[in-house]
Amino acid sequence: MKLLKLVPQDTNIKFLKVRLPFFIFSLLLMAASWGLVAVNGLNLGIDFVGGQEVQLTFEEREVAPVDELRQRVEALGYGTPVVQAFGSPNEVSIRVPLPEDVEETPGAANEIGNQVIAEIQANYPDARPDGNQTVSGKVAEEFSRDAGFALLAAMLMVALYIWVRFEWQFGVGALFALFHDVTLTLGMFSLFQLEFSLQIIAAILAIIGYSLNDTIVVYDRIRENLKKYRKMPLPELLDLSINETLARTVMTSLTLLVALLPLLLFGPASLFGLVAAITMGLFVGTYSSVYLASPLLIWMGVTSNSFVPTETEADKQEKKVLGGL
C-alpha cells in the first residue's frame, strides 16, 4: 500500500530567510488588532457586561421577525438590543445588555429579563423560549476579573515552565508567540464583532495550549540539534529544525482541522464562537511557532553553548521521566 506523504521528504525551505519582513508583518497585525479592539471594541456578551440573553424558536414561521423583535424590545426602554439569527432562520437570540446606571442594583438584570420574556410571550404565541440567561452586573464584573487573571496566569506559568525546561530565551519566545496569538484572536473578534463570551475565554486558553504544543515541538528539535550540531550557524539550524518537524506540523494541524470543521459546520449553534476561535487559533498558533517563536531565539542570542551547562542535568531528568514508564 502506498502511504500518503503530505510533505515531501527532505524539504529544505528557507523559512527564516524572510524572518524580518514576517516579524514586522506580525507586529503590524498585532498593532492593528489592538487598534481594532480600542476603536471597535469587543462585542462583549452578557457574561462580561451583565444583562439578559434569550434564545427563541418560532415554531410557526420560516423566518424569525428580527426587525420587529428589535423594535419591540427596544420600546421597553433598556437600550438597543442585539437581535441575531442563531442556527436556523427561525431561531433567534436577543441580547439586552444591562444599562450602566442599574449595574449595581442587585436583581436588575433579572427584572429586565422578566419583562423581555413577558413582552415576547404576549406578542408571539408561537415563540418557544429555548434558553434564557441572565447575568447581574456584579457577577459579570467577577467574570471579567477572573477571565483576565486566568489568561495572564496561564501565559506566565507556561512561560515559566518552558524557561525551567529549556532556557530563558525559549520562555520569552514562547510567551511572545502566545501574546501574539491571543492578540490576533481578540482582533478577529473585534473585526467581525462576534459575541465575546466566557466560552471564548475557554477557547483562548485552548489556543494557548495548542500554540504551545506546536512551539514546544519545534523548540524540542532545536534543543536536540543545538546539542548535535555545535558549529552550525543558528539561522541554518533553526531552518533545519523547522523542516524536520514540518511533516508533523502539517499532519497535526490537518487532523485537528478535520476534527474541528464538522463541528464548525454542523455543530450546535451555541458552540460556533468557541469552535471558530479555536480554528483560527490553529492557523495563528502554527504560524507564530515558526515565524515568531523561532526567530526570536536568534535575536536573543541563543547559542549551542546555551545547553552545555544544563545538558547533563537535563538528560538525567529526561532519563528519569522515561525510565518511570
Binding site: N132, L212, L256
Partner: protein
C-alpha cells in the same frame, strides 16, 4: 523494548478494559439499556445545557442579615429592660451604623442593665464567643455592636436556614432532583434539571414571605400617615401594588403584633361568602394562643396583614379567632394565592435572596445540541481515522485503536469521577480527538525519519518512541497547566470543557505512548519484519 513482561501486559490491559468498561453504561443508556438506579453503576452526568434545566445563582445581602440581627436584639433588649423589676426606663433608641443604642433615663441603672443584658450579649446558641459588645458612652448611653463572630454566626445560620427554605419551596413546586449548594459566604447555587417554567421558580425564591399581623394605629391622622409621619410607637407601611389600596400608606403599632413564622400549614382556598381567593393558615399552638388573645382583646379593631414589608390587606377583627386558624384575603388571583400558600408553608426566608445569575436551557435545545454535537464528532473522528490510516498504514491502525480507547477511557473516567459533560465539553472531546493523534504523529514521523537515516526497523521504532516522548511530555504538561487554570477559573459549562481537556491529556498520553508501544512491540516481536511501511 520488544519483551514486555507478561505482568505488565496484563496490568495495562486490565486498566484499559476496566476504565473503558466504565463508559459502557453511559453509552448504552440512550439505546434503552437500563442498569437501574443503583448508584454503583457509574454514569456521566449531563450538564444543564445538554439535559435542559435551570441554573440559578442566588445572593443574600449580608447587610440585610445584620439589619435583622439588630432588629431582633432591639426587641430582646426592650423586652428585657421593660420586664425588669423595677422597670428600667430608657428612650432615644437608634439602629444607625449597624449598632443599636439607647439612652438610659438614669445613670444609676447602668450596672443593673448590664447584668440583665449580659445573657443576650452572649447569644442564644450557647456560642463560645460573645455575639455583641456592650459599651457605655456619654455617661448613660448604651451601645451594642456585633462582634465579628456574632456577625458570621448570624450570616451562617441565615444562609443555612435559607437553603432549607429554598429546598422546601422547590419540592413544593414538584420538581425533581434539584441541586442546592451554598457557594462562598453569601451565595446559593440552585440547579433544577428539566424545569419547564423557571419564572415560577424565580418568583418563589424571590419572595421572602415574612408575614406579620400588626394592629392599626387608630389615633394616627390620615394626612400625617400619607406624609410618612408616625406617632411615637407606630410605624408606617405602604399598601402593596396588588392590594385594594395601592399607593396608599397605613400606620400600625410597632409592638404587640404577631409574626407568621409560627405557621404549621397554609393552603389556597376560596371564601364561601364573598367568592374571593384567600389563603388559609393554621398557627401552631403557641401562635394560635397569641392570635386568639390578640383578636379577643381587639374585637372591632383594624389590623394589617403585612407581607415582606407591604400591607396586603387591613381587615377588622369581627370576632375572637380561637381555633388557631385564620384566612388571609388580599385581592388574590387563584395563582397568586397558591404561590403565597407555598411560600408561607415553606416558611419565611431568613434573609431576602436576589437572583444574580440565571441560565436556562430547554430540553428541546439540549437534545438538539447533543444530536448535532455527536454527529459532528462522529464525522470528525472518521475523517481523522481515515487520514491516520492513509498516512501511516499499519501504524495508523494502531493510532486509531489508541484513539478509540482514548475516547472510551475518557468517558469511563468521567463516569467514575462523576464529572459533568457539558456542551463545551463536547467541543473539548473533539479537540482531544484531534490532539490525541498528535502524540502518534510525533512518534510515527520520528520513526519515518529514523528509517530514512538508515536505521534498522527495531532501532528506528525504539528511537521514535524515545525521542518523541520528550516533546510529548513537555507539550502535555504545559497544556495541563492551561487546562487546570481553566478548571479553577471556570464555572459550569466552562468547567466541563476544562475537565474533558485535562483528563483527555492524561488519557491520550497513556493510550498514544503506552498502548501503541505495546501493540507495535508485539507486532515486531512476532513478525520480526526487515522493513516497515511507514
Amino acid at each position: 523494548m520488544l519483551d514486555t513482561p507478561l505482568w505488565k501486559k496484563i496490568w495495562l490491559w486490565g486498566v484499559t478494559l476496566l476504565l473503558a468498561g466504565a463508559a459502557l453504561p453511559s453509552l448504552l443508556a440512550p439505546a434503552g439499556v437500563d442498569f437501574g438506579e443503583s448508584s454503583s453503576v457509574p454514569e456521566i452526568n449531563l450538564g444543564l445545557d445538554l439535559a435542559g434545566g435551570s441554573h440559578l445563582l442566588l445572593e443574600a445581602d449580608p447587610d440585610d442579615v445584620a439589619q435583622q440581627k439588630l432588629e431582633n436584639v432591639e426587641e430582646q433588649v426592650e423586652a428585657a429592660l421593660r420586664g425588669a423589676v423595677p422597670e428600667i426606663e430608657f428612650g432615644d433608641t437608634s439602629r444607625a451604623n449597624e449598632r443599636f443604642s439607647f439612652l438610659l433615663d438614669s445613670a444609676a441603672d447602668i450596672d443593673r442593665a448590664r447584668g440583665i443584658l449580659e445573657p443576650i450579649m452572649m447569644g442564644n446558641d450557647g456560642a463560645l464567643q460573645r455575639e455583641w459588645d456592650l459599651q457605655v458612652v456619654d455617661t448613660q448611653r448604651m451601645v451594642l455592636s456585633p462582634t465579628s463572630s456574632g456577625a458570621s454566626v448570624a450570616l451562617n445560620s441565615a444562609m443555612e436556614g435559607a437553603i432549607e427554605v429554598v429546598r422546601k419551596r422547590i419540592d413544593l413546586l414538584g420538581t425533581r432532583e434539584p441541586t442546592i449548594i451554598r457557594q462562598g459566604d453569601t451565595r446559593i447555587v440552585v440547579q433544577v434539571p428539566g424545569l419547564q417554567d423557571p419564572q415560577a421558580l424565580k418568583e418563589q425564591l424571590g419572595q421572602t414571605a415574612q408575614l406579620e399581623f400588626k394592629l392599626v394605629d387608630q389615633r394616627a391622622l390620615e394626612e400625617n400617615t400619607q406624609a410618612g409621619i408616625a406617632n411615637p410607637g407606630s410605624q408606617i407601611f405602604p399598601f402593596s401594588e396588588d392590594s385594594d389600596q395601592p399607593g396608599r400608606f397605613i400606620a400600625v403599632k410597632r409592638l404587640g403584633g404577631i409574626r407568621g413564622d409560627s405557621l404549621i400549614n397554609a393552603r389556597p382556598g376560596v371564601d364561601q361568602r364573598t367568592n374571593e381567593n384567600i389563603v388559609q393558615i393554621q398557627f401552631d399552638q403557641q401562635g394560635g394562643q397569641r392570635f386568639a388573645t390578640l383578636s379577643t382583646q381587639n374585637v372591632g379593631q383594624l389590623f394589617a396583614i403585612i407581607l415582606d414589608g407591604e400591607v396586603i390587606s387591613a381587615p377588622v377583627f369581627n370576632e375572637p379567632i380561637l381555633g388557631g386558624s385564620a384566612q388571609i384575603s388580599g385581592n388574590f388571583t387563584a395563582e397568586s394565592a397558591n404561590q403565597l400558600a407555598i411560600s408561607l408553608q415553606s416558611g419565611a426566608l431568613p434573609v431576602p435572596l436576589t437572583v444574580i445569575e440565571e441560565r436556562t436551557v430547554s430540553a428541546e435545545l439540549g437534545e438538539q445540541s447533543i444530536r448535532s454535537g455527536m454527529i459532528a464528532m462522529l464525522i470528525g473522528s472518521l475523517a481523522v481515522i481515515a487520514l491516520m490510516i492513509a498516512t501511516y498504514g499499519r501504524f495508523g491502525v494502531y493510532a486509531t485503536g489508541a484513539l478509540l480507547l482514548n475516547v472510551l477511557i475518557l468517558l469511563g473516567l468521567m463516569a467514575i469521577g462523576n464529572f459533568t459533560l457539558t456542551l463545551p465539553g463536547i467541543a473539548g472531546f473533539v479537540l482531544t480527538v484531534g490532539a490525541a493523534v498528535d502524540a502518534n504523529v510525533l512518534i510515527n514521523e520520528r520513526i519515518r525519519e529514523e528509517r530514512k537515516r538508515g536505521r534498522k526497523v527495531m532501532t528506528a521504532v525504539e528511537n521514535g518512541y524515545k525521542e518523541a516522548s520528550r516533546a510529548i511530555y513537555d507539550a502535555n504538561i504545559t497544556n495541563f497547566i492551561a487546562g487546570a487554570l481553566l478548571f479553577w477559573f471556570g464555572s459550569g459549562p466552562i468547567r466541563g470543557f476544562a475537565v474533558v481537556l485535562v483528563i483527555g491529556l492524561v488519557t491520550s498520553v497513556f493510550t498514544a505512548l503506552t498502548l501503541t508501544k505495546l501493540w507495535v512491540s508485539g507486532y515486531l516481536a512476532a513478525k520480526r519484519p526487515k522493513d516497515i511501511n511507514i
